[in-house]
């Protein structure tokens, strides 16, 4: 029954060169931009993934933890391969491979069989279950399923299995991160709160951060401070493990007993106010000690804020070494400011990254001219606007909430900027606009080692200044007329 649509049979056609040229120019036009921004239903090149990806990321940040996708096996393959490509590291996770019959009978049988096999084969210390679309749509009751698994003796009664509902049709990967993190902490800390006990440690929640270099940088900063820190959750070893001839399914992660004891910490700071609101709200109600929610420390001001907060919470001075480091970062900025001053940038990414990029660019005297957030709340928008309002360089800069990278393309083509800050997915728009793309965000599929290069803290400032200014200088050297090609820049 070919031609089920009942359309007329037509000859194979080719477009004329003129017609192609006309459309090629048209998609770069202001008229096209209007039509593009009038879209109501179609999303093109979104800058966000779905919840389970974030859930898997955070699960990898705990010792011996096996991420377990309750749903179709294809979902697990997608999350895993995304993490593989970004980190160029293994990302072991299992699924319970639900199929059509799951839609009829529910997913309990698959979950139970999956738990038995995963527990036996991969010998995890903890299993973190999260859901993809199918069980969310049919409404599987995971509390009951897991309870039944323990009652049936499929896994030992005291074995930690927890779950997070991570529907893909709601929120983005950062929300899955949050749901899984709070679920893990609730499970591990249950009954562990001891009146009067204080570990003396700082609990640090970096947020949904895909840069292993950032995690190592946090640990270094707090070592300088002389403060013991529990990172919740620490993916730095999992996704930056040595190549030494051995492979471990569980290459790193925060120790489970340490995470359990985090409830007795001296203080807890989240650096992902937009990625971990649920977790932080629960922590405030349940964790001992002080609690603070700060921006991701991208740029000088936000790093200062973190160090001052830590100094205050722990009654310590900011160590001289960190003060010197700040001076070096500022030195890098003042030395290089002329290469970025008043340059317009387009930035996009998750909210916690965005507030950081905007803050850093304004500090440099650059202009975060197009700010695009693929999914974000009024609160994010307000915070971004207040950053712009507080700086002379924020004037004329505009925030585009809930827009995608095809919108970004129209912005770049109709109202040009010098560069884009984002991730690999922005490379098509950047190329069409003929400007460089700085891959400070996630995912990075097309460059090596960027996930090892921190963008947080003072070192992050130096790294970003170096990348941006040298790229601008490369472009100048590659494109200037011979008579302007000179030794010094």
């Amino acid at each position: 029954m070919a031609n089920a649509l009942g359309l007329d049979v037509k000859p194979v056609t080719e477009y004329t060169a003129e017609e192609v040229e006309r459309v090629k120019n048209w998609i770069n036009s202001k008229e096209y931009k209007e039509k593009n921004f009038a879209r109501q239903a179609l999303v093109i090149n979104p800058a966000h993934a779905c919840q389970p990806l974030g859930a898997q990321l955070v699960a990898h940040g705990f010792e011996g933890t096996l991420p377990f996708v309750h749903g179709s096996q294809g979902c697990a393959s997608y999350y895993r391969s995304t993490l593989n490509r970004h980190f160029r590291e293994p990302a072991p996770a299992v699924s319970d491979a639900m199929t059509e019959d799951g839609a009829v009978f529910g997913g309990q049988a698959n979950l139970h069989e999956g738990l038995e096999n995963a527990y036996t084969l991969y010998k995890p210390k903890m299993i973190a279950v999260f859901t993809s679309c199918m069980p969310e749509v049919i409404g599987d009751d995971l509390t009951a399923f897991i309870k039944n698994a323990k009652n049936k003796g499929i896994v030992p009664a005291d074995f930690p299995i927890l779950y997070a509902n991570t529907p893909s049709f709601n929120g983005t990967h950062i929300h899955g991160y949050d749901s899984m993190l709070v679920s893990i902490l609730q499970t591990l800390t249950e009954g562990k709160k001891i009146e009067g006990r204080c570990t003396g440690k700082l609990n640090l929640i970096p947020g949904c951060d895909f840069n292993t270099g950032d995690y190592r940088e946090y640990k270094r900063i707090f070592k300088e401070f002389g403060i013991a820190v529990t990172v919740l959750a620490d993916i730095s070893e999992t996704f930056d493990s040595p190549c030494d001839g051995t492979y471990s399914v569980y290459a790193g992660g925060t120790k489970l007993d340490e995470a359990a004891d985090s409830i007795n910490g001296k203080a807890t700071i989240t650096l992902g106010p937009y990625a971990t609101p649920k977790t932080f709200s629960w922590i405030k109600d349940n964790y001992a000690g002080e609690h603070a929610s700060l921006s991701m420390p991208i740029g000088i001001v936000k790093t200062d804020a973190l160090l001052m907060k830590v100094a205050e919470l722990f009654g310590k001075e900011v160590p001289a070494a960190l003060k010197a480091e700040r001076g070096r970062a500022v030195d890098a900025m003042t030395d290089a400011q002329q290469y970025m001053h008043d340059k317009k940038f387009a930035v996009y990414g998750d909210p916690d990254y965005l507030t950081g990029y905007v803050s850093f660019l304004l500090e440099m005297g650059a202009r975060p001219y197009h700010i695009l957030c693929s999914r974000g709340t009024k609160k994010v928008e307000k915070e971004l606007q207040s950053l712009l309002d507080a700086s002379a360089y924020g004037k004329g800069c505009k925030i585009y909430m809930n827009k995608d990278l095809w919108h970004l393309r129209s912005l770049l083509l109709t109202d040009p900027v010098a560069a884009v800050i984002g991730d690999t997915h922005g490379k098509f728009a950047a190329r069409d606009a003929g400007i460089p793309l700085f891959r400070f965000g996630f995912p990075v599929f097309d460059r090596v080692n960027l996930h090892r290069s921190p963008i947080i803290g003072y070192q992050g400032v130096i790294n970003m200044v170096t990348a941006i200014c040298n790229k601008f200088l490369d472009i100048k050297d590659e494109t200037c007329e011979d008579r302007f090609f000179e030794m010094m820049r």
Binding site: Y15, N45, C50, E113, H425
Partner: protein, 481 residues
């Protein structure tokens, strides 16, 4: 099955079975029973599969498989360059499969070529109230913003089938309104056991909605063929097509690498279908044979030995003019191929390779490794069927291990025992083996290289295999302290 049965020193039916039994011992009883029939020592003499296949994945064991949507969007539809492909449902599926297959495309992105990510980005309300209305709106938006798109495919993700949306009816209505082919493909990820059903569903959709809806404008010739099952990974189609044209054939359409919808729609007018990826497209070859009487031929463009055999077999379907050209082309390329072999074989001879790819490449690439003097000590597929394993048996040495949809655990343990010099598989496996110090090439994406098809491809394949196996970086894995 004229191939000589080859042996690998140290590998016997008993040694392979012992290795399998040891791995199976780690499973709980039920899983062990399920997995056992999927692992076996190869029996080339029988010419038959030694394993079961195309069965449900065992829950909880870390399979490499994807889903029906992945097979539809990533494999069959995505490479058709002049259509808009809408991932209909939540944002993730389309996002994960965006630009991650390396099916290269010509044309201008956003103008004549649409290698982008289109999605309806389902929200909670779409699940509750259904997404048909949204679909209707977005189809009109896509047509307005991309006026040169020749058609739109609507690829269903899991929720669409679960909530009872009727994309077929929306497609039919909007296709009439816009006078544009809008192809509904019910390829929800929960259907079937792997990507494979997504291929089949997509083939059926082409049968129902596309083929016969266009006619070629040029006069027919006896040399009109279609290249089926080449997805232009790293430029494979461009290499294969050049070679087919060199022997005098007119490649009227390609399914679906760098593909054009209208030419695919007119394929019922060709004289012969030649198929590279049998697994993903044999369905439509059979349909075209039954319905239009078009014969079809499987061929293999990996490595000079198989290329030569294939060119001759293709030539046999035509007259002497083509056959003469085939011989001339082989004669022209053979010295170049020999020079490549002379360069790399001394460094690769006797090296062992293990393979795990989708549904075709293990059996199709063994010849190319053998051209370089290497031997295959284990092979398997994510989603092959028994006819694929039948075709694999004569390609592999005697008693080497065959694994169907292996868990990561099995693959890892087999590699520990067999100690291959190279593993060819996917991104999820790559870094596991590289941590173990085993050289690895991604054989889905050609590891960001390619093309690997045709004579042109073999030069690149040989270089890539050599640099993977012989990179000095492997010598640094063990620290001296």
């Amino acid at each position: 099955m004229t191939e000589k049965i080859r042996k690998v020193p140290g590998i016997t039916k008993e040694s392979t079975q012992e290795m399998i039994d040891k791995v199976l011992a780690a499973y709980p009883e039920k899983a062990r029973k399920k997995r056992a029939p999927h692992l076996g020592p190869n029996d080339p003499a029988s010419g038959k599969s030694c394993v079961q296949s195309n069965k449900k994945t065992v829950p909880g064991v870390m399979s490499a498989r994807g889903c029906a949507y992945a097979g539809a969007k990533g494999v069959v539809w995505g490479p058709i360059r002049d259509m808009v492909h809408v991932s209909h449902g939540p944002v993730g599926c389309g996002w994960y499969s965006w630009g991650t297959r390396r099916n290269l495309m010509s044309g201008i992105n956003g103008v004549t070529q649409f290698g982008m990510q289109f999605t309806s980005d389902f929200q909670e309300k779409d699940i509750v109230y259904g997404g048909d209305k949204k679909l209707k709106t977005l189809l009109a938006e896509a047509h307005e913003l991309f006026p040169l798109a020749k058609g739109i495919s609507v690829l269903s993700e899991c929720p669409v089938g679960l909530i009872g949306d009727d994309i077929n009816s929306v497609a039919k209505t909007v296709a009439k309104e816009l006078d544009l082919p809008i192809i509904p493909c019910n390829c929800e990820g929960f259907r079937g056991v792997s990507q494979s059903l997504g291929h089949h569903i997509s083939n059926d959709t082409i049968r129902d909605y596309i083929i016969e809806t266009r006619e070629f404008t040029e006069p027919e010739t006896p040399y009109d063929i279609a290249l089926i099952g080449d997805y232009n990974i790293g430029g494979d189609v461009w290499s294969a097509k050049a070679l087919l044209e060199e022997i005098g054939l007119n490649v009227k359409s390609v399914w679906t690498g760098d593909g054009e919808m209208e030419k695919i729609a007119a394929t019922h007018k060709v004289k012969l279908n030649i198929i590279h990826c049998y697994r993903s497209m044999n369905y439509m070859c059979k349909v075209m044979e039954e319905k239009y009487g078009i014969p079809w031929l499987e061929f293999n463009f990996f490595g000079p030995t198989k290329i030569k055999e294939s060119l001759r077999a293709i030539g046999q379907c035509f007259d002497a003019t083509i056959q003469e050209k085939v011989e001339a082309v082989i004669a022209r390329h053979e010295p170049i191929m020999q020079a490549i072999i002379d360069e790399y074989k001394p460094r690769l001879a006797g090296k062992k390779v293990m393979l795990l790819v989708g549904g075709l490449r293990p059996r199709h690439t063994i010849g190319a490794y053998e051209d370089l003097g290497m031997e295959c000590v284990g092979a398997g597929y994510e989603f092959a069927h028994s006819d694929d394993y039948d075709r694999t048996a004569p390609e592999m040495p005697d008693a080497t291990v065959v694994y169907d949809d292996p868990s990561e655990y099995e693959f890892e343990k087999f590699a520990e025992t067999l100690k291959p010099d190279l593993i060819g598989s996917g991104i999820k496996e790559k870094y596991i083996f590289q941590k173990m110090g085993i050289p690895f090439r991604q054989m889905h994406s050609w590891d960001y290289s390619g093309p690997y098809h045709g004579y042109q491809g073999f030069a690149i394949f040989a270089r890539d295999v050599d640099m993977a196996v012989n990179s000095p970086t492997w010598g640094l894995v063990k620290s001296p302290f």
